[in-house]
Subunit: 315 residues, 2 copies
């Protein structure tokens, strides 16, 4: 938790002290609510330490995928509110064992990694190879937690159920945002040529020009550090070529299809809570001693939604 | 060149066609200037293919560093306009061989890698261990190529000599921006506690909250793919701990101190040219066939300044 919330560029010598200090603050903040006349602004670590259990929700196993790789498990939360058909199709692909034994075929610097069936010919049972695009949806019916700082790309940005969202109220449309860790379905030039048999994950500066051009259907909530370090491919667009081979996929499974003992019990900070609002504010204006000039602003892609093991169930 | 300019999320099957098409366009654009009644908007690849030699400038060997690592050479362009004292000090450190035999001590997911003297005790000859901060400078005297789309963090953003820059005209101050690949000098809580003996490079979503909080002094123009894949450290803030060891540094040298035959001859698109403006416009509104909804906006950190080998001198 602390490592996700901490952001200083400090030298190693300074780190031990900082970590100790953060621990001390956390311990102090937990037992008693602040009652000083002018309360000191909280750091992100303090906000999270002071959260209540109801600020968190467990990941829904019906919408959680486990991508099993040789170095470990990558955990993906899917977004049925935005891409219901792609979510259903990728779930069907997982149930068919479609991804098992396939591999990563692309790793493009400061951009994306991509995995699935490079040849596009692996047989399917119930799942579809292509689907109509789900680039955006009606804004109506969605209650976003707004981020009020100006966004370069969209009139309105915010969060819904842990996902970064953009919207255009005039058009009445909303869409998921290409932040770090987002999962999408590759396609060819035809907008309806994707479906989830090739999936990509953002590993660099948010490629916002892709918003509304390709279907996003989830986000990686654990294991990004396994994907972001894949050696870059030397072919066009970072595809592996010649003797290069990408990391193999052991399997991809829906969490609900595994016995509970084999699941990873995680919970996510609810993005519709006062605690999340305080967390965002603490990221807008950093109050850790290291910082000298708080930014006073925050980009929607600079707000990683905290995820942690469920107490007593971590594995 | 093509791989930096290309941005589609396409399936592998579609890639060969796209690369062929891009080649055809490039070949067609080079010999003759367009003279159609309503000229088709250019793609980034077409803009670069149509550039003239005077749109490019060679990297200045006096301000170019070669960080030699086991898998290859990382090339850094320094920014004396923004951090003259840090640039001079890191140059002195390179000349003393300070970095030779040191290592990376930090790799933090979606954030930074850091290298130098973890213990902070390696002896110095002429170089300094700490320097006064160079977080920002007067805006006066700088002629920025403005990026006119709204920026979340600063009233004004643009480019100067290839570097991403932000400014506040009311304050009359300007500063370098923490985009992907930027190089900075780590520090402890004291603002004047850095100096370049520990250097970091941004490997994730632009951490703009660091702007004006730490001294940036350059950017990586080649070799980011060697740094971004360093295994993440398991200690606090991504520092390596226990049995983890970071990639060793063979040497860091000023290009000017090497015989010309050992230098890498690179040139960079001048950011004060009409060609750069056309390149930015082509990134604001992608016209490759794959794209369906041009963004119409661009973030300053989504504009990698093109760098290429000098014709006839590539190595």
């Amino acid at each position: 938790m602390a490592s996700r919330a901490s952001s200083e560029i400090r030298t190693l010598a300074g780190t031990a002290l900082a970590v100790l200090a953060a621990g001390a603050l956390t311990a102090a903040a937990a037992p008693a609510a602040p009652r000083a006349p002018a309360p000191k602004p909280l750091t992100t670590a303090e906000v999270l330490a002071a959260s209540s259990p109801s600020d968190w929700r467990p990941l829904d196993p019906q919408y959680t995928l486990y991508l099993e790789l040789p170095p470990g498990r990558v955990i993906i939360e899917m977004a049925p509110v935005f891409a219901p058909n792609h979510v259903a199709n990728v779930t069907a692909l997982a149930r068919e064992g479609y991804f098992d034994g396939l591999a990563f075929m692309r790793s493009q610097e400061n951009y994306v990694v991509q995995f699935g069936d490079a040849a596009g010919k692996k047989p399917l049972a119930r799942a579809q190879r292509t689907l109509p695009a789900e680039f955006e949806r009606p804004l109506r019916g969605l209650t976003l937690t707004r981020i009020t700082d100006p966004d370069t790309y969209a009139p309105l940005v915010g969060f819904l159920d842990g996902f970064p969202v953009a919207a255009d109220p005039q058009l009445g449309r909303a869409w998921l945002v290409h932040c770090y860790g987002m999962l999408g379905a590759g396609r060819d030039n035809d907008v309806d040529s994707g479906g989830g048999t090739e999936l990509y994950v953002v590993i660099g500066q948010a490629p916002r020009h892709l918003d509304r051009n390709v279907t996003l259907l989830g986000r990686v909530v654990r294991g990004m550090e396994l994907l972001s370090v894949l050696p870059r491919g030397h072919g066009a667009l970072g595809f592996y070529e010649g003797s290069e081979s990408g990391m193999p996929i052991r399997s991809m499974r829906l969490a609900a299809d595994l016995p509970e003992a084999e699941r990873t019990a995680l919970e996510e900070l609810r993005t519709d809570t006062a605690t999340f609002a305080a967390y965002v504010e603490a990221r807008r204006n950093r109050h850790e001693e290291w910082f000298k000039v708080p930014a006073g602003r925050i980009d929607v892609c600079n707000i990683p939604v905290p995820v942690r093991p469920v107490a007593g169930k971590s594995r």
